[in-house]
C-alpha cells in the first residue's frame, strides 16, 4: 500500500491524481483504438495518444510528486520526455514505410505507390 508523507500539500495530491488519471486514461483509449479500428494505417494513429499526452501527463505527475516530497526541484523526467518525443515519431515513420512497402509488393491496390520502388509483382506475399 502506498505511504504518503504527512506534509504533502493537498493541492499537490489533487494535481498528481488528476494528471495520473488523465495520462493513464489516454493510454488506455489509445490501446483501445489499436484494438477497435479496422485497418493497419488507421491503427497507427491511436497509440500516439499514449506516447504524447499520456506519457507527458504521467511524467508531469511524477515531477510534481517528487518535487513536493523531496522538497527540491526534481526535473530529470524531462530526459524521458525528450527521448520519447524524438524516438516515437521516427519509429512510427519507419514502421509505416515498411508496411507500405510490404502491402505494395503484395499487390494491394488500396495503397498509393511509393515513387522509389519497382512495379508490383502479382504474387501474394507470405505472412
Amino acid at each position: 500500500m502506498m505511504s504518503i508523507p504527512g506534509d504533502l500539500p493537498a493541492w499537490v495530491a489533487i494535481l498528481v491524481s488528476v494528471l495520473v488519471l488523465f495520462g493513464s486514461g489516454l493510454t488506455l483509449i489509445g490501446t483501445l483504438g489499436l484494438l477497435r479500428l479496422d485497418n493497419f494505417y488507421a491503427r497507427v494513429h491511436p497509440p500516439t495518444l499514449g506516447s504524447t499526452l499520456g506519457v507527458g501527463c504521467v511524467l508531469l505527475a511524477s515531477m510534481a510528486y517528487f518535487t513536493a516530497v523531496e522538497s527540491r526541484p526534481v526535473v530529470h523526467e524531462v530526459l524521458i520526455a525528450i527521448f520519447v518525443t524524438i524516438t516515437t515519431p521516427v519509429g512510427l515513420m519507419l514502421l509505416v514505410s515498411a508496411a507500405l512497402r510490404r502491402d505494395w509488393t503484395a499487390g494491394d491496390p488500396s495503397v498509393p505507390l511509393p515513387p522509389d520502388l519497382p512495379k508490383p509483382k502479382a504474387k501474394p506475399e507470405k505472412q
Binding site: M2, L21, P47, S51, A61, V90, L94, A98, A99, Q127
Partner: protein, 94 residues
C-alpha cells in the same frame, strides 16, 4: 475523504488502467493479423509499460523506477526501429 486518500485511489486506478492497456496491446500483438500490426502493438505495449513503471515510482516514492523507465524508452525504440527495418528488407542491418 482527504486528499491523500484520493491520491492513493487514483494511483491504483491508473495502474489498473495501464495494465488493461498493456493487455489490449498484447491481445493485438497475438492476433496480428499481419507482422506490422504486431510491431505496432509492441510499440504501444512498451509505452504503456513505461507509464506503469512511472506510476509504480509515484506509489512507492522510489526514484529507482525512473532509471528503469529511461532504459525502456531507449530499448523500445531500438526494438521498433530494428523490427521495422527487418519488415522492410528482410534483414535488420544493411
Amino acid at each position: 475523504m482527504s486528499a491523500g486518500t484520493i491520491l492513493v485511489w487514483s494511483v491504483t486506478v491508473a495502474e489498473i488502467a495501464l495494465v488493461i492497456a498493456m493487455a489490449l496491446a498484447a491481445y493485438r500483438m497475438l492476433r496480428g493479423p499481419r507482422a506490422q500490426d504486431r510491431v505496432l502493438a509492441l510499440d504501444a505495449f512498451y509505452i504503456a509499460g513505461m507509464s506503469l513503471i512511472l506510476t509504480f515510482g509515484i506509489e512507492t516514492g522510489e526514484t529507482v523506477y525512473f532509471e528503469a523507465a529511461l532504459v525502456i524508452s531507449l530499448l523500445g525504440f531500438v526494438a521498433t526501429a530494428a523490427l521495422a527495418k527487418f519488415l522492410m528488407r528482410g534483414e535488420p542491418i544493411e
